[in-house]
Symmetry: C2
Subunit: 302 residues, 2 copies
């Protein structure tokens, strides 16, 4: 195998973090650059929260609450409880340890460090050797269109519990954004780019919406892992979004969304995919199975 970072992974939150972890366990963390979604970032109580980047960080650092799929395990919630009692914003759950990370991120951002540099410092402090980069350092926010109007992503997802049917999406700030330092280089240097089994609308497209990233992928071998198995998502509202946005609620439907950007589409063993799909074990929920799943995936793709 070649030395250095040779696999780039486009990643959202939970599904993405598990895929990054699986590939890192299989190929070694130094082989991986993860390019993370920032479309669901938010400011809350004055702190900058990057839920998808954090889920990747916490997963790789072994801190994730795996049961729940977000946040830090063995967490307390005393700061948020007090903030709520005082009339502060408390609709978005922030644990105390989680908040410690947001405070540090926010203070570094205020010192003028870009999000990518902040994220690298956080990863280093947590002993994470995978290189994690936000798709962009600039503000890019996913907006969800519903029949009641446009909502911020977290307003739709958390505050309203993704009950509103999605009629469209918009990636605010994407056109003016540029890839974070290292993103295009990581793609160019990669022998394989993996699109993780993340929600294409709210995790992957906000990455692809940053000018330059889609173009860089066009020249590469790109594999996408299906986020739907038997037409259902491991977790989250993807199946419902596929339906409400007029797409087939299946792996093949997701493959059609990516179109010719993707060279190899990977579906779960026994699942139906588009013509030419590769079948593989893509169940990465159990951390104990991820090394093996990652190994087989790389065997199939490299």
């Amino acid at each position: 195998m070649r030395e250095g970072r040779r696999i780039a992974v486009l990643s959202g939150g939970l599904g993405g973090s598990r895929c990054v972890d699986a590939l890192a366990r299989a190929a070694g963390p130094d082989a991986i650059t993860a390019i993370g979604n920032v479309g669901d970032d938010l400011e809350l109580l004055g702190v900058h929260v990057s839920p998808d980047l954090d889920t990747v960080l916490y997963t790789l650092a072994g801190l994730l609450d795996e049961e729940r799929g977000w946040g830090v395990r063995d967490e307390t919630y005393n700061a948020l409880a007090m903030a709520g009692e005082l009339g502060g914003e408390s609709w978005f759950t922030l644990g105390d340890r989680d908040l410690g990370l947001h405070l540090v991120r926010t203070s570094w951002l205020r010192e003028g460090l870009p999000l990518s540099a902040v994220t690298l410092r956080l990863a280093e402090a947590l002993g994470v050797r995978v290189r994690l980069l936000p798709a962009t350092d600039e503000p890019l926010r996913t907006k969800i269109q519903t029949k009641d109007g446009e909502l911020d992503f977290q307003e739709w997802f958390v505050a309203r519990a993704h009950r509103d049917e999605v009629t469209g999406l918009r990636y605010e700030g994407a056109e003016a954004a540029s890839p974070a330092p290292g993103v295009l280089e990581a793609i160019e240097a990669a022998e394989l780019v993996v699109i993780a089994p993340s929600n294409p609308f709210v995790s992957i497209r906000p990455i692809l919406a940053v000018p330059g990233i889609r173009e860089a992928l066009a020249a590469k071998r790109v594999a996408a892992v299906s986020p739907l198995v038997g037409g259902k998502a491991f977790r989250g509202p993807l199946a419902e979004m596929m339906a409400s946005l007029g797409h087939e609620q299946s792996a093949a439907g997701v493959a059609a969304l990516y179109g010719d950007l993707v060279d190899v589409f990977v579906v779960a063993l026994g699942d139906e995919g588009p013509p030419g799909a590769v079948e593989a074990d893509i169940d990465m929920v159990d951390p104990g199975r991820r090394a093996e799943v990652g190994r087989k995936l790389l065997e199939a793709l490299l």
Copy 2:
């Protein structure tokens, strides 16, 4: 007794909060306006901390860790622990519930509310009926001069554990500051102004340094309660500061510092004071005794 707010108290941290509590238990919380020191405020991890105002709030809300004399009882420290692990500032202890309050304060300040309005909102949310006002809404910071140079108050007090001998003090920003809304009115409306048994150098003088406050006091009956008993402070570095700054380390020494600003100086039973000093029980450490101590103090002063 007259209706309305009729006692104004100039207050620092622990000693001040206990005195405010004692007077509030004796005269009723609606009779009291506490004017709090902001000279030891600081920004830390991007949040605005007002240690003295918070000690008053926590004391009056019954949340104070009475044993330790600061912060919230039954507190956890998980956010700060995480921040420290990540390389963020962690030299100043912030508990999780405490941090929740700072986050709310800071977010309201960022919305443009002045500190006085924020403090009133926090007090209301905590069910505190004493009216607590910062001496000023503008930045005023106590600087400590030592033979190794000038230090921020908390740098001297917390980070260096007040080991450096104090050779002078400066109240940065005081000259340009103005009293917070309600401060002068509270003094003018008061039939009695009490200077709490707080450190004169780092708690009371930063209040008096705000132009207009000393002048308003000149027209009023002002009583000061000695922060030294038998030449010793209940807690904190006052005795050492008296010595290093060339003052007599006694109640009379404190009285001399206040000079003719004060009409009545109150010392502990049996303690020596300046000529004309009133002796009273001023031990307000035990919350269970505060109502009685406050009652006797008011009997002696009104």
